[in-house]
Symmetry: C2
Subunit: 501 residues, 2 copies
């Protein structure tokens, strides 16, 4: 079925004079009609996955665990906002490979760069960056990951890594080292400290902790998983550090309608953070707090800029570092390059981690978080020049096409549509969030069962959206998500809701 | 200075009739004279790093920690076995980016693949493999990482990851899950288990352990670092799990001259492993033992095939999984594709991890190590098709040029040279190891200070070798290391030793 030429009440919501004018601007820039992409979703099979996808996934399941796979994709046929599966079904992708695709499938400018000597050479001659960096490594960083328009304000340093989990864990290590350095007051290690470190025992391997928030997600390796509190399926049977976690503020949505009571709840949590840091001082002192600007796997849980400013205040008062995990929120999707820009912090966070849409991973940090000696925070590859070149080109493309402000503007329109549908289908579309967060939006269904049905209903109509937490639908469109896609999304969601209601 | 045309006694050691015949064969295949590579090292500056490298590294140090860097390289100018630094010094690279380069710098066949549509597309359209795998993912695996000639015998399954640490930690997770599954006898989780997992507490986050060996190295994230026991600098100030570690057998080298006493020492350690597993049963049961075939960062410490067969026996008897960490030893450098092939195990290990020379990372495993449900061992990218394509091409190149048997044969010659130098410089070249391990060889100097001087002496003459452990020199030449390079190495080592003696 094709939605390209159909029309609906929800779609018409986007057709104000203002949005028409905007659409013209965007089309001129090449979006809304992303060059060469399909005109709309097209599902040919009676179910998704279709028989060919099923066969591919069954085959893969023989050699690894692919029970989680939704469909197998023909990547060569994907384009712009659209993916094509093994059965030639075309889907509008509003999930973006778990929020990691930014500037579109088969982006010609990116693939052109991929075929340059610079990229081919970087990919096939991967250095051990910490020992033999390329002569132009600083230039690559400065033109991309460390570009003035990109690098978070106040953070001069960068540590590159390979994925979100390794980025976060390397930042944790830096915080633990800096915390102990400050406590010791010097950079020498006595014999007892050195020897005990080799036995995984204090004082060399100190009993310190990372503080995180309940329902938060920071990765799935042993350190990052110890700060992840999303779902049992992520954590069961894996040994974890005894580290503290505090409530995430239980806010009422939409935020702007419940400011007073939300403020109170946020203050309750801030007090809890303070108390927890104090209580753990004798048990396992908290070296750092790690926090997502929007809890992205755990249910799209938001908090206000006020909350984060207070958190920064408390961490400074208590001498605890603050890591902002922007692995999912970073790189434009929230309508600013970094979600934490909106907080207007008087003092920057100590570290900001990134991955996903950047394609390269790592964290920005203060000078204080530099280790006291070389080889302390180190590994073989220390990042990847090929991925750093890719990040440089993604950034260039985002800036050339003003995709961050485009996404902010698309977010406003997306929110209007969801607000209208929420008033008409209040049990299926509730607790809207992300009004001012670009297209990084979400809503709840009344139950998890309804949420699953809604996601499946969208999928059979050729629109891929994700779930998060217990009953949230999370939208993670690409940064090139335009007016036409918005129209299709609105029509598809409405048709799904109509069928479910 | 150039060594290309000089001659020495050490070099002449390689010139037996047999080796001459062999060299002819290798040259015919394109090695010994790797196409287009420099004829020898050429150091133009009075010290290494030279002024230009120093300037590049100083500049990099402004934005990150590059105190560990030796020289900055001009990667476009590197070729075959040789790297060219910022000052145009040419070095014979026998360290290979910490043992991660296999088939030569600027390998034309690899770079040709990098520029294909297949690779460019894979690199710039990175999937979330666990959710939307490419239709040809199984084919990519089967032609490369899972190829019959590559996949360790008895291990049908593969889990792909991003680096050695993430490969090992994902394998650890699989072992913990399988261990608990076996203990429970079913795949259901009760409410108490689910709830406690969210609090990082038992029974949901059980107090289990991984057993590793002292002086071993398995990575630097929180789980892998807890099994790493190489050096304090790797571990200081980082919280660690209270997990057991047992002695590595303190063997006498060369192994073949001390078989009886080494056997006794290995049996002592095997008994220690058994005891430790028993002792920890009430404290934190050991779910798995992780072991390197050759302890590579911790000092190039070897053990005999007998030791590993006994270790496999004990792990089976005790119901403990066995992970073989082939991150540094894998992919041909030891003269077999996997170092553990030489053990002739009656039962394969439960998991074998890889990274470095494969450029792709992950672990092979048994069906028993598949998680009981989807999403239990999962992350966003789940590996990288671009790196899997690169691995496929590396494997194809290795096989087309018989580089594994070539490396075995080069190892024999390399060992002869080291044996001769050892008899002439017994304090500076002692405890030779790796006679039957391809070019994956090492020797000790009497002291760490002498080792550092030797490595520096080689470096100023344009040959890069590494150190490991307290006083070992580790050799990690590429798989394309040929007769000519061996000659240069022999001459350079001898000149260095002569100067030091």
């Amino acid at each position: 079925m094709t939605f390209a030429s159909s029309s609906s009440a929800a779609a018409s919501l986007t057709r104000t004079a203002a949005s028409r004018a905007q659409a013209t601007v965007l089309r001129r820039r090449g979006f809304g009609t992303y060059p060469g992409q399909p005109s709309g979703p097209n599902v040919l099979t009676s179910s998704v996955p279709g028989p060919k996808s099923k066969a591919v996934l069954d085959d893969l399941n023989q050699v690894g665990d692919f029970r989680t796979a939704i469909v197998a994709l023909q990547y060569p046929k994907c384009k712009g906002n659209y993916v094509v599966d093994a059965d030639d079904n075309t889907h509008l992708d509003m999930f973006g490979q778990i929020a990691s695709i930014s500037v579109g499938y088969r982006n010609e400018e990116l693939e052109k760069v991929a075929r340059t000597e610079e990229f081919a050479m970087a990919a096939m001659n991967r250095p051990a960056l910490g020992v033999f960096p390329p002569v132009d490594w600083r230039a690559t960083l400065d033109a991309g990951l460390r570009k003035d328009s990109v690098r978070p304000r106040g953070l001069s340093q960068i540590f590159t890594a390979n994925c979100g989990s390794t980025a976060n864990e390397s930042a944790y290590k830096a915080c633990f080292m800096a915390y102990m350095h400050r406590k010791r007051g010097h950079s020498d290690f006595d014999q007892k400290t050195m020897a005990s470190s080799m036995d995984n025992a204090a004082p060399g391997a100190p009993t310190l902790s990372m503080l995180s928030f309940k329902t938060g997600f920071h990765g799935r390796l042993f350190g990052s998983l110890s700060t992840t509190r999303s779902k049992p399926i992520h954590k069961l049977d894996i040994p974890a550090f005894d580290w503290p976690a505090v409530d995430w503020p239980a806010l009422k949505y939409p935020l702007e309608e419940h400011e007073a009571e939300n403020r109170k709840e946020e203050e309750r949590v801030i007090a809890l953070v303070e108390e927890t840091i104090e209580q753990w001082e004798t048990k396992a002192p908290v070296a750092a707090v790690v926090v997502e600007p929007i809890q992205s796997e755990g249910g799209d849980n938001h908090a206000s800029p006020h909350f984060f400013r207070r958190l920064r205040e408390v961490t400074i008062q208590k001498g605890v570092y603050m890591i902002v995990d922007e692995v999912q929120t970073g790189v434009g999707a929230t309508g600013t390059f970094w979600a934490h820009e909106k907080w207007d912090l008087p003092t920057p966070p100590d570290a900001v981690s990134f991955s996903k849409k950047m394609q390269a991973a790592g964290y920005y940090h203060t000078e204080e978080l530099r280790p006291s000696a070389g080889y302390r925070n180190f590994n073989t590859w220390m990042g990847d020049p090929a991925r750093a070149i890719q990040a440089r080109e993604i950034i260039r493309y985002i800036e050339a096409h003003s995709l961050v402000s485009h996404t902010a503007s698309m977010g406003t329109q997306l929110h209007s549509i969801l607000a209208s549908l929420s008033s008409r289908y209040p049990t299926l579309v509730q607790n809207l969030r992300g009004k001012t967060e670009g297209t990084f939006q979400a809503f709840d269904c009344e139950t998890g069962k309804e949420r699953d049905a809604l996601v499946a209903g969208m999928r059979k109509r050729g629109v891929l959206v994700g779930g998060s937490g217990e009953r949230a639908v999370r939208l993670r469109p690409l940064l090139i998500f335009g007016e036409k896609e918005l129209e299709i999304f609105a029509e598809t969601l409405e048709a799904t809701l109509k069928e479910m209601a």
